[in-house]
């Protein structure tokens, strides 16, 4: 085994991605202990 990653995957349907970063920062992740990244798919 070279690397292991355990994380949380959240899928959402949104009208616009404008506020995704704020959502991640305020609720979906706790920046004190968690990192996050997000992408728009389709």
């Amino acid at each position: 085994v070279q690397t292991v990653h355990v994380g949380r995957l959240i899928e959402m349907e949104l009208e616009s991605a404008d506020e995704v970063d704020a959502m991640c920062h305020r609720l979906l992740a706790n920046p004190t202990i968690e990192e996050y990244e997000w992408e728009v798919v389709g």
Partner: protein, 220 residues
């Protein structure tokens, strides 16, 4: 003196906290999560439990409850707020206290009675205690492992904001921290449950040492 106890879906120590407030000789006031005002209370206890089923992270959903808006205002205005267990987790998620409570390092729920030491008496919730005083208090949690970045931890120690420290660490928390306070020292979060040892009929009323402090404060 009127002391409010917040009730979220999944809170399970609210009744104990309300009962403890009565035993303190104060008037207990229920603060429902959907209440938009604090009903003229003098202090607030955010009790333990599993608010909103601990979904996402403990306390993460509760911090967006309607009652939290006036509570945050009350806290920022210097009003005494005590978070116990899940209440501590809620106050951290609401950024009223620094840090976060991680899962216990041994990965198991801990339900025990532990010895803790009062490290700071200049908070409304410990002013009736002696510095260095030891208490035996119940703990019951899966996420009680206090974590903050090294700078924050150093700052907490420098400013003597560690209010309660474990004598035997039950969860792996940094610096044996069992409770901390905010910069203004009016907001305190602790993992142990003083309300569960506030009635001699249940074997101990040591918890009143902590809870009753706020009455002295209110009468000043």
């Amino acid at each position: 003196v009127r002391i409010g106890v917040t009730i979220f879906p999944g809170s399970n120590c609210d009744r104990d906290a309300l009962h403890a407030v009565e035993l303190m000789g104060a008037e207990p006031v229920e603060l429902w999560h959907a209440d938009a005002d604090l009903k003229g209370i003098d202090a607030i206890i955010v009790p333990g439990g599993f608010s909103y089923g601990d979904y996402l992270r403990p306390g993460a959903i509760a911090r967006f409850s309607k009652v939290m808006r006036p509570l945050e205002e009350f806290a920022r205005g210097g009003g005494p707020v005590l978070g116990v267990c899940n209440g501590f987790q809620v106050l951290c998620e609401a950024h009223l206290l620094p840090g976060v409570l991680l899962q216990n390092t041994h990965m198991r729920f801990v339900c025990d009675r532990v010895r803790v030491r009062i490290e700071a008496t200049d908070t409304p919730w410990t002013s009736g205690c002696e510095r260095g005083e030891e208490l035996a208090l119940p703990v019951a949690h899966n996420e009680g492992n206090y974590f903050a970045d090294p700078e924050t931890l150093a700052r907490l120690e420098d400013e003597e904001r560690v209010v309660l420290r474990y004598l035997e660490n039950p969860n792996g928390s940094a610096n044996d921290i069992a409770g901390v306070c905010n910069e203004g020292r009016n907001v305190v979060g602790i993992m142990p449950h003083p309300e569960r040892v506030s009635d001699p009929a249940l074997g101990s009323d040591e918890g009143l040492r902590i809870l009753r402090s706020v009455l002295e404060e209110a009468r000043v």
